[in-house]
Amino acid sequence: MPNGILVFIEHRQGAINKTSFEAVAAAQALGAGAGQDVSAVVLGADAGVAREVAAYKLARVISAENPKLADYTSDAYADAMERVVRARDPQYVLLPHTYLVRDYAPKLAARFGKGLVSDCIRMKAEGPMVTFTRRLFLGKMDADVVAKGEPPVFATFQSGAYRADQAERGEGAQVESLPVEVGEVRMQPEAPFQEVKQAVDLSKADVIVAIGRGIKSQENIALAQKLADALGGDIAASRPICDAGWLPIDRQIGSSGQTVAPKLYVALGISGAIQHLVGMKNSSTIVAVNKDPEAPIFDIADYGIVGDLFEVVPVLTEEIKKLKS
């Protein structure tokens, strides 16, 4: 009889990815509702990582061991996690929706003849019935999803869906080491690196004016730059602008770029895909200008103008100059 919840803890060379503790908070919430215990699993971790995890309120920490788990590869991680899941036979396997998890977890779930309920933003447990909520259409719609069929259910949680500081601490969980078999590894990783030393550190900026697809052409960036100058802020962009080479990559805000929390964030022509929102949603005041009234950016904006940014920005720039003089 499958039982319990297994939560995956991600680490790289001893550093735990903090969204793992958000997944712990999710697992504890589900465990409390469904009356099931929660076990954490770390792969190829040193004793320090296991100890850090064991400080949380968990039934146990499983430390799966194999020399091939020293560096992350999708082949080794899928093999190791498959062994752990088969050994524990849990009802739920919960993981943080990180780039690493996105790389190996679908392969893991496929070994059980299924996919993942991926990138969830909420979860509601009513007795044995669990409803997951995930985003569709780059954040424009929400979908409630119910898992069915044989356990385990595999689900991943978006960064920020749960709060790491809500993960409950306990009295020291038992660490159980579990030697696991790992098959052939068909890829060789090199050391991770940063492309260039980031020339621009936007995390210190008080004001950021960010542009998205709505800016339409590189020439139009000057318009946004004038607004940034009037506000005494920095210019930044969503991914498509940097992909097009209109602004350098160190101006990119979002999951693959910089994470910022300025006093004022002005989003011009940015629809607000999840990957962008995670990089700026903690800004104190958020302003959004977009033609589409349903754009997801408005879900997190304090002030919104539905309209053409080419009409809004020049007037706004002039008004701000007046107020400042």
Binding site: A109, R111, G113, F137, V145, R186, Y303
Partner: protein
């Protein structure tokens, strides 16, 4: 070298979406469709690899007749032939069944490389490529932002979080999921559009067992996201008035000026 590219058709990025009456999907009647963004980049990467290494690019797509527009566009850009897995409602079967249908349709091709986008712009599961790789017995790498196949060995640069990257040496055959922005996408030329008319589009049915693989997750309801903040909308349709009001609010309410 043979490269198979898996491409999905999705509603146009700028489309205004409305929930359908059953609240299970959106109204499709008046929608226009386009290729999912990262799949477009996967095709571009395949075409560039073919230019360097020679060989053939085969496009595979799943869905009703309207999917032909994505296929024809890919052929016009330079793909050599296409497989269209034809069927209604196939786009709703979920990530595992989708991957299984695609894997069975391309298995016989024995491709050296399978490329696809990292995630679709509609359901956004981000799993189809990885699951297809597992079903085909191929190693894979996701979120690939550069492909180096200049030598004997295939090296790929994977994007990690927060500006970090990592190179992997891959064994071939393998499957790669491509990140948007890997290169600049070419336009179809008039010559390409003309040539595409003579290229083969093979229509196939989904493998019976694959379509029946079923799904383990059901969408019970879709709806507009709940607002996380009470947004003050300014200007009431008058953009210039909104701008003036905004400047005043930023100074007196938010106190950021």
């Amino acid at each position: 070298m043979k490269i198979v590219v898996l491409m999905k058709q999705v509603p146009n990025r700028d489309a205004i979406l409305r929930v359908n009456r059953e609240e299970k999907w959106i109204e499709e009647g008046d929608l226009s469709f386009e290729v999912s963004e990262s799949d477009g980049y996967a095709l571009e990467e395949a075409l560039r690899l073919k230019e360097k290494k020679g060989g053939e690019v085969v496009v595979c797509s799943l869905g009703p007749q309207r999917v032909k527009s994505v296929i024809k566009d890919a052929l016009a850009r330079g793909a050599d032939r296409a497989i269209h897995i034809l069927g209604d409602n196939l786009e709703h079967v979920g990530p595992f069944a989708t991957a299984k249908i695609l894997a069975e349709a391309i298995r016989e091709e024995q491709a050296d490389l399978v490329l696809t986008g990292l995630q679709s712009d509609d359901y956004g599961y981000g799993q189809t490529g990885v699951i297809a790789a597992e079903l085909l017995g191929l190693p894979h790498a996701t979120i690939v932002i550069e492909v180096d196949y200049s030598g004997e060995q295939l090296r790929v640069k994977r994007e990690l979080e927060s500006g970090w990257y990592q190179w992997y040496t891959m064994r071939t055959p393998c499957l790669l999921t491509i990140q948007s922005g890997i290169s600049q996408i070419r336009y179809a030329t008039l010559k390409g559009i003309m040539a595409a008319k003579k290229k083969e589009i093979r229509e196939v049915q989904p493998a019976a067992d694959a379509a029946a693989a079923g799904e383990f997750q059901t969408v019970t309801r879709i709806y507009l996201p709940l607002k996380q903040k009470q947004t003050q909308f300014l200007g009431d349709g008058d953009a210039k008035r909104g701008a003036a009001q905004l400047a005043e609010k930023l100074r007196n309410e938010a106190r950021v000026i």
